[in-house]
Symmetry: C2
Subunit: 185 residues, 2 copies
DNA sequence: GGACCTATTTATAATTG
DNA sequence: TCAATTATAAATAGGTC
């Protein structure tokens, strides 16, 4: 009855929203929209998704695909305990990860660990290969083709900063999707 | 006139699509949908976005936010050349990144480098701090609180694998958005 | 920051080319 | 893998609480 919704949305113009408050509100709404879409993409197509969304000058939000343990099992082997033949640091992280996510069910979203999730399956893959990569000083001496060299170099640096970020920011704001609602964990 | 569009979409059920072909088609469409949404989020709210989308058993697709040089400038300083006072490895990567993206205009999307983009601004931040992080063996001896320890540890491992991935996959498929169309670069 | 609200804009399932 | 199509399902701007 009131005039609450007199001003209904117009066609959006793809441009930066100048009004700061509107920009924040839109960020929040659309961030959730993106996460929801990714949720659907993951569930419907079985894809893996890792996303970081960072509003200007604030802490990042992130979203990782679900069923982390399933992903681990997919790569490490179903219900197989850590291999005694390679009880190195790799297994240590697998266990840490399992523990960190043990409270999650397969059918629920696990959005703790966030963007780490995608990257983890690559870690497991590496574990299968049962070898480690020298990424430190030696990285830049390897026989890598030009473009990869650039990318990998930047990535390496980024990695270090991401680590620093985790350190500095403390716990990042991960989001869980449950019962149709997104909520910070 | 034909029966081409007799079967119009029904309400989607949030479940894995069993038919393999439909699943692929849906993946492609929704991947583009997600990227488009992220594009809008970036442009409208000024946020930064980095995303990796990986269909089962295939190479990953990725999306990074635009205006990379602007982001660099934001952190390093407008139009400021690399600081002579700290001509270390940091500047080297900033320059590499600038060069890699020099062909991009501010108003166009730069989706080369992909997920590296987000991480880069953290790198620049680190540069500002003018110090480096010891992440190798020493990382695990640092005074990090429990949860961060776990996260950072996994992240470190995961990113090492991401490095490996970049190495193995060669050039990842980055996507550019232009004139309303997404296209591989 | 989130929960609602409504009218309108967008995304998109199923299909053919 | 991408383009086009159309009717419908979803997302969302602007607002209040």
């Amino acid at each position: 009855m009131s005039t609450r919704w007199i001003m209904v949305r117009k066609s959006i113009r793809l441009a930066k929203i100048e009004n700061q408050n509107n920009r924040l509100v839109t960020f929040l709404k659309r961030r959730n929209g993106v996460f929801k879409k990714e949720n659907e993409l993951v569930v419907m197509t079985g894809a893996e998704v890792g996303t970081i969304v960072c509003p200007q000058g604030s802490k990042p939000y992130s979203f990782g695909h679900p069923n982390v343990n399933e992903t681990i099992n997919k790569y490490v082997g179903e219900e197989r305990p850590p291999s005694p033949s390679s009880p190195g640091i790799d297994d240590k992280y697998v266990q840490m990860f399992r523990k960190a996510n043990s409270r999650e069910l397969n059918t629920r979203f696990n959005s703790r660990q966030d963007q780490l999730v995608f990257v983890l399956n690559l870690k497991i893959k590496l574990k299968q290969m049962n070898k480690k990569v020298e990424i430190h000083q030696e990285w830049f001496k390897g026989p890598i083709e030009k473009i990869n060299y650039t990318e990998a170099s930047i990535l390496k640096e980024g990695l270090e900063d991401l680590l620093l970020k985790v350190k500095n920011y403390g716990t990042e704001r991960g989001y869980g999707y449950e019962n149709g609602k997104w909520k910070a964990e």
